[in-house]
């Protein structure tokens, strides 16, 4: 099975546009993916037919909306192999999912003498919440360095774990800058060998859209997801957790929906996952995320992965052969995703982005919310082209053309 990109593209209205008479070439799905008709229809259907609040009404419209909202939870649980739908908490995005854990687990349970271990490869979303919690609680923040081959330094990680004080491990599944796919099982086993009680959170923002993921098989405590990178709408993400962990946790945000009883004397928290969904949730977005899971499963996540692996190999070969281009990230397509960071000699990423825009090519330039990694790379910014189901080899030529034009234009 392969992806028929021409057919896929027809389902994305944004990709039908032209920029200055050129086909729009979207190479920024690592920042946010495009939205297929099926997702637009699902959200539209909510607003046009099922518009009512959820978890409250006794009339049919609300009951139906509630059933569909909960069906979205089950759909996502099935899509990522969650241990149970009760372990799926809808959040605004992965940033909020991670903060939920930082507030309701780490800040409540860790203190001076304990350590949180994260890595130098993380997106700020999986770095700053731990830094902040460490500041507030006296917990020590430790950071696994990156090796010259753009993989985590497993040996150094062993040393950081050696004293057994690491009680929480926060790890990215796939790097949004380097594309590196981290060997989760190996890294988690290492942490558990040092401290069997260690609690593990994985930031899956760049993994779930691109690889088959089975959270239960990974045996992690928490796994964060963001909808807008997996063909879903903005404004919805999820925390996938072991239900027993959620049972142990106090709420993060409080208010309506997340309680069973309230009086001036006492409040009884609702059961997970509702305990962590205060207020009216993102209902249309949950419908949309449901549809996004359907679209990805129809393609088949194995097929999606195979498509991207082949495409990234082609892009890496071409960029590697292009004059003045340096790629930051693993060279083996088996060990990386389709997020390709690179530099072009003599051209600042900002200028490159402007030139590529004039060719209708959308890439991301900047620090990619990963400043610790940028510091390690020794650069202020990189350019990043990233691939998804609607990209194909025909997106390569406009990219290379724009890069070459930028080299000529800005040559000193």
């Amino acid at each position: 099975m392969t992806i028929d990109v021409a057919t896929v593209r027809k389902q994305y209205p944004t990709l039908q546009q032209e920029v200055d008479g050129r086909r729009l070439v979207y190479l920024d799905s690592a920042a946010s993916s495009q939205t297929p008709e099926a997702v637009l229809d699902a959200m539209d259907g909510y607003y046009r037919r099922l518009r009512a609040n959820v978890e409250r009404g006794v009339y049919r419209l609300s009951e139906e909306a509630t059933a569909r909202y909960e069906a979205s939870r089950h759909r996502l649980a099935a899509f990522v192999g969650a241990p149970s739908p009760d372990g799926v908490v809808f959040t605004r995005n992965v940033t909020e999912a991670i903060n939920l854990v930082a507030y309701s687990w780490v800040r409540r349970r860790l203190g001076p003498g304990d350590a949180v271990l994260t890595t130098a490869m993380e997106h700020h979303a999986n770095f700053v919440p731990w830094w902040h919690a460490a500041q507030d609680t006296g917990v020590e923040l430790r950071v696994v360095p990156v090796r010259e081959d753009f993989h985590l330094d497993v040996e150094a990680m062993g040393h950081l774990l050696a004293d057994g004080r690491v009680r929480f491990l926060a790890l990215g599944h796939v790097s949004n800058v380097l594309g590196t796919i981290n060997p989760l099982s190996e890294l988690i086993a290492l942490a558990r060998a040092a401290n069997p009680e260690v609690v593990v959170l994985v930031d899956g923002a760049q993994a779930v859209p691109h690889l088959p993921v089975d959270v239960a098989a990974l045996d992690v405590d928490f796994y964060g997801i963001t909808g807008h990178k997996m063909l879903g709408p903005t404004g919805i993400g999820a925390l996938i957790a072991k239900p027993e962990r959620l049972e142990q946790m106090p709420p993060f945000l409080t208010g309506g929906s997340m309680i069973l009883d309230v009086s001036a004397e006492h409040v009884v928290w609702n059961h997970p996952p509702h305990r962590f969904e205060a207020g009216t949730p993102m209902i249309a977005e949950a419908f949309g995320l449901h549809a996004a899971c359907d679209v990805l499963d129809e393609l088949g996540m194995d097929v999606v992965r195979a498509h991207e692996r082949e495409l990234v190999a082609t892009f890496l070969d071409a960029l590697g052969a292009a004059d003045g281009v340096t790629v930051y990230g693993p060279t083996d397509p088996e060990q990386r995703s389709g997020a390709i960071s690179f530099a072009v000699d003599g051209v600042h990423p900002h200028d490159l982005g402007a030139m590529l825009d004039s060719y209708g090519v959308c890439i991301r330039v900047g620090h990619h919310c990963a400043k610790p990694l940028m510091r390690w790379l020794g650069v202020n910014a990189t350019a990043r082209a990233s691939l998804y189901v609607y990209n194909d080899v025909d997106d390569l030529a406009p990219l290379l053309e724009g890069i070459e034009a930028a080299r000529r234009f800005f040559a000193r």
């Binding site: 004039s358 900047g366 940028m374 202020n380």
Partner: protein, 154 residues
């Protein structure tokens, strides 16, 4: 957008062959470092003042063509000027970047060609970096200090 709206030939000239670009300045009175973490522009500016005038001014840094070219054009426009005159000119440039026509286009010299940058909001910060740095360097000097660092965070 078209590349030519943003990247005038004069801007590219300043980028390729910057004026007053150097890592050090003899007899430096003030050094300021300005950075724009969002896009990764970095600028070091060194100022020497004699008799209330800008007697020496060099910049060094790393960043996009707009930020580096604008800093180069800035040094050219403010060298030899009285400090308060240079401050006024920096204000004129700042307003230019916010869409107000320059009141002293001739004094801004090549700075005026950056007028088009005002139409690209994300690049305005880049064009302003050098000018904000010289303003800060002068104010730092007037306050009797010799060092200042500024990080722009939006």
């Amino acid at each position: 957008m078209t590349m030519d709206d943003l990247y005038q030939e004069i801007i590219l000239d300043h980028y390729r062959r910057p004026k007053n670009r150097a890592p050090a300045l003899d007899g430096e009175d003030v050094h300021v470092h300005h950075s724009n973490p969002l896009c990764g522009d970095e600028l070091d500016l060194r100022l020497r003042v004699r008799d209330g005038r800008i007697d020496g001014l060099v910049f060094d840094g790393e960043g996009c063509s707009i930020s580096q070219a604008s800093a180069s054009a800035m040094t050219d426009a403010v060298l030899e000027r009285d400090l308060d005159d240079a401050l006024e000119l920096a204000e004129d440039f700042r307003l230019l970047m916010h869409g107000t026509p320059a009141t002293r286009p001739d004094d801004l010299r090549d700075g005026v060609v950056f007028e088009g940058v005002a139409r690209f909001p994300v690049r305005v910060k880049c064009a302003l970096l050098g000018w904000m740095a010289v303003r800060d360097a002068i104010e730092t000097y007037l306050a009797g200090a010799s060092d200042h660092a500024v990080t722009y965070d939006d």
